[in-house]
């Protein structure tokens, strides 16, 4: 009964003709970069009290990264600054190197999810302005994300409305580990505003909810990284069972940097649970997998690497080849190289994942 173990070599292929990269992380050279768009009040607050996430570390992360700043060691700009802070190097190493047609920017570590929601809103506004001035207005291949202070639904709505209609912005960006599951009513102003603005909602892993995993706090970074898939599963279940997809049929949700292999089994599990507990969720009239096949997308990175590649193809088929969108996660260490990561013999499928699916979601390319 043992499946045949194929010693398969990665199929080295040249990058597809057109690529949309759904996850690039620009970085400020220092928080000074945000100064032009912060009031004195909030600049002083930042200097005095700093960024405060729901964990104890004043600097760094609760689970130390694999490499400094969680970045590729070869992505540190010679000009100084952290990886992702230098547009020229980003062009050289990513946009030009692989012929990226369009890249979606997902800035991290600029105050989204701060314990102080009002401060967070100020930082999000500044970061959104910075994305335009430092990135999208200088490089036409890049699009920005609307960062919002997601724990404050109304403040988030205001920021989304401010950016609606600006073609520089490709989506609204949330983080996955929020104070409550993202399907809950307090977050609905975000979905309402995003839908009205015609913007997808991207949910990128990380953020710090302040909660442990369901069985307690992990010890290691490898546990934290593995767990992102699990918290993404919880987010999806919440969106389904709270009726977010039902209530906002035009809403598109993209799960970013959680990998994707888990989505097939989750859909099956949610379908069974929904069928059994129908009476608890009368506001969810359709099976969960129906919503997932229409309104949810997942980015590829970090791409699962089964020993037998055919198994990944099974999973892609079960999820739906139109649901999956390529991402590099540049400049992080677990970056997926566009030339190597997605070794698919089916060229048409590869093109859908590398380009067409994202073009359909983000509406341009």
């Amino acid at each position: 009964m043992m499946a045949l173990e194929l010693r398969e070599r990665p199929v080295e292929q040249t990058a597809a003709a057109e690529i949309i990269d759904c996850d690039i992380h620009p970085k400020v050279r220092s928080l000074e970069d945000l100064r032009p768009w912060l009031s004195n009040r909030w600049w002083d607050h930042l200097q005095t009290y700093g960024l405060r996430s729901r964990h104890g570390f004043a600097k760094g992360s609760p689970y130390p990264k694999a490499a400094p700043m969680a970045c590729r060691r070869d992505a540190w700009p010679a000009s100084g600054g952290e990886p992702g802070s230098d547009l020229e190097l980003m062009c050289e190493q990513l946009l030009d190197a692989y012929g990226i047609t369009l890249g979606v920017l997902n800035p991290l570590s600029t105050g989204q999810g701060d314990q102080n929601a009002e401060f967070s809103a100020a930082m999000c506004f500044a970061t959104n302005e910075w994305q335009k001035a430092a990135w999208t207005e200088r490089e036409p291949r890049l699009r920005a994300s609307v960062l919002v202070s997601y724990e404050d639904g109304e403040a988030s709505r205001a920021e989304i409305e401010r950016r609606a209609g600006d073609p520089d912005f490709a989506q609204v960006l949330l983080l996955s580990r929020t104070a409550e599951p993202l399907g809950q009513k307090r977050y609905w102003p975000i979905y309402e505003a995003a839908t009205e603005a015609g913007l997808p909602v991207g949910i990128h892993v990380f953020g710090y909810s302040g909660w442990a995993r369901s069985g307690g706090w992990a010890s290691y970074y490898i546990e934290e990284m593995t767990e992102h898939a699990a918290s993404a599963q919880a987010v999806v279940a919440s969106l389904v069972f709270e009726g977010v997809f039902e209530r906002f049929p035009a809403l598109k949700v993209v799960l970013i940097e959680a990998g994707f292999g888990w989505l097939a089994a989750l859909g099956w599990r949610l379908d069974k649970v929904w069928a059994r507990m129908r009476d608890e969720v009368p506001h969810v009239p359709r099976p969960p997998s129906a919503y997932l096949s229409e309104q949810l997308w997942v980015t590829t990175q970090p791409m699962e690497e089964p020993k037998i590649r055919a198994h990944l193809l099974d999973v892609i088929e079960w999820i739906g080849p139109d649901r999956i969108m390529f991402a590099t996660d540049y400049p992080h260490w677990d970056f997926d190289d566009p030339g190597h990561a997605l070794a698919l013999p089916d060229k048409a499928l590869k093109r859908r994942i590398m380009f067409e699916n994202a073009r359909a979601v983000y509406g341009r390319g």
């Binding site: 009964m1 043992m2 499946a3 694999a66 996955s176 580990r177 929020t178 104070a179 599951p181 399907g183 809950q184 909660w211 442990a212 995993r213 369901s214 069985g215 307690g216 706090w217 992990a218 010890s219 290691y220 490898i222 546990e223 990284m225 593995t226 767990e227 898939a229 699990a230 918290s231 599963q233 919880a234 987010v235 279940a237 919440s238 069972f241 709270e242 990998g259 292999g261 888990w262 097939a264 089994a265 989750l266 099956w268 599990r269 069974k272 649970v273 059994r276 507990m277 009476d279 608890e280 970090p302 699962e304 089964p306 020993k307 037998i308 198994h311 099974d314 999973v315 079960w318 677990d334």
Partner: protein, 355 residues
């Protein structure tokens, strides 16, 4: 499916404590008085709300809506009906919920004694897991030592969602005791609610709670692997009870990929995670989160890359399947034989003693 011919070993059934009154004979004078004087009416867990559809299939409920509370029903509905040769009782009365470790110890003892007297004694086809008070690992070890001489106890039972991740050193004396007695650790769906059931907070619905159990198993498996429990206890087997199963392959791909890059963080994990799981982890087959499609089922089983991993179980009386459809279409015949008998016997050494 020819049930009498198969003579399966059912690795997950749930005799239910009908009420606190049933446990009173198994508490000492002090605790019996405590229960009555302080009005400790019940340890029922919200992991399985009594009247929720999942908690019991309608045709298995009695007039008061409960299920699996008496031996006659369990014999008729399960043992005789499915021609089961042996069944392992996993009692889910919420001993793990209790905060007072001494009280938890008393209740654990009472549940295990109740199981032994009122289920194992009168019914030779039944075996059981030892319910342990993990609130204090020393007490858990004591309870294992107390129950292990009764060879009808074949496993140690813990929940998928507790206070500390199961891989932590604090629990290692429990694994040492279990390994010493040839008892696998059975991790069963359910929470002690020390933390919300998701890492993103408390969900609104029971549907989300139950769905989240699969993530609970993922977190526990990661903890056990990365903390080195399987290396420290190479003879220990861990059984994932009522986990859903089909999340496992993609989870192992992800963990395995990270291990290759992060090995230096946990250098005692000296072989790929999927090999560890293939050798030391087993899963019961109900529920099997898969569509009713034989082709899909057979492929997802291939993704497991081992025919030794799956264990037959009805999860009785939880409502996971209709009629007799405990085995989904798509399983090869020779695999069914292994799932039904050979794998359970290999996993639970004590079952071989009287099988």
């Amino acid at each position: 499916m020819s049930w009498p011919r198969l003579q399966a070993i059912d690795c997950d059934i749930h005799p239910s404590v009908p009420s606190m009154r049933a446990l009173l004979p198994y508490l000492d004078d002090h605790w019996r008085e405590t229960v009555e004087a302080r009005g400790i009416a019940s340890l029922e867990s919200i992991s399985y709300p009594r009247h929720a559809p999942l908690t019991a299939r309608p045709d298995w409920r009695n007039e008061s809506g409960q299920a699996a509370t008496d031996l006659v029903a369990v014999r008729t509905q399960l043992l005789d009906h499915f021609g089961v040769r042996l069944a392992v009782c996993n009692c889910l009365y919420g001993v793990q919920l209790v905060f007072d470790a001494y009280m938890a110890r008393a209740f654990a003892r009472a549940v295990n004694d109740w199981i032994a007297r009122e289920w194992l004694d009168p019914e030779p086809r039944l075996r059981a897991s030892i319910v342990v008070p993990l609130q204090d690992p020393e007490f858990a070890v004591e309870e294992i030592e107390r129950c292990a001489p009764d060879r009808r106890f074949v496993q140690v039972l813990v929940l998928a969602m507790g206070e500390l991740p199961l891989g932590r050193r604090a629990y290692w004396p429990v694994y040492a005791a279990a390994a010493r007695h040839g008892l696998p650790i059975g991790i069963h769906a359910g929470s002690s609610y020390r933390h919300p059931v998701t890492s993103v907070g408390w969900p609104t619905t029971y549907a989300e709670d139950y769905a989240s159990q699969a993530q609970g198993f993922q977190a526990q498996l990661t903890s056990l692997i990365t903390e080195g429990v399987f290396r420290q206890f190479p003879d220990l087997k861990v059984v994932l009870l009522e986990s859903g199963v089909t999340w496992l392959p993609a989870y192992l791909w992800r963990l395995g990929k990270f291990w290759r890059g992060l090995r230096f963080e946990v250098p005692w994990v000296d072989r790929p995670p999927h090999e560890i799981v293939r050798d030391q982890v087993r899963l019961t087959i109900q529920p099997l989160d898969a569509p009713a499609d034989a082709g899909v089922v057979s492929r997802i089983v291939e993704h497991l890359r081992s025919d030794a991993m799956l264990l037959f179980a009805t999860d009785y009386p939880h409502w996971q399947f209709e009629g007799d459809a405990v085995l989904p279409d798509g399983l090869p015949a020779d695999l069914i034989e292994k799932i039904a008998v050979a794998n359970p016997l290999e996993t639970y050494p004590r079952l071989r003693e009287t099988a």
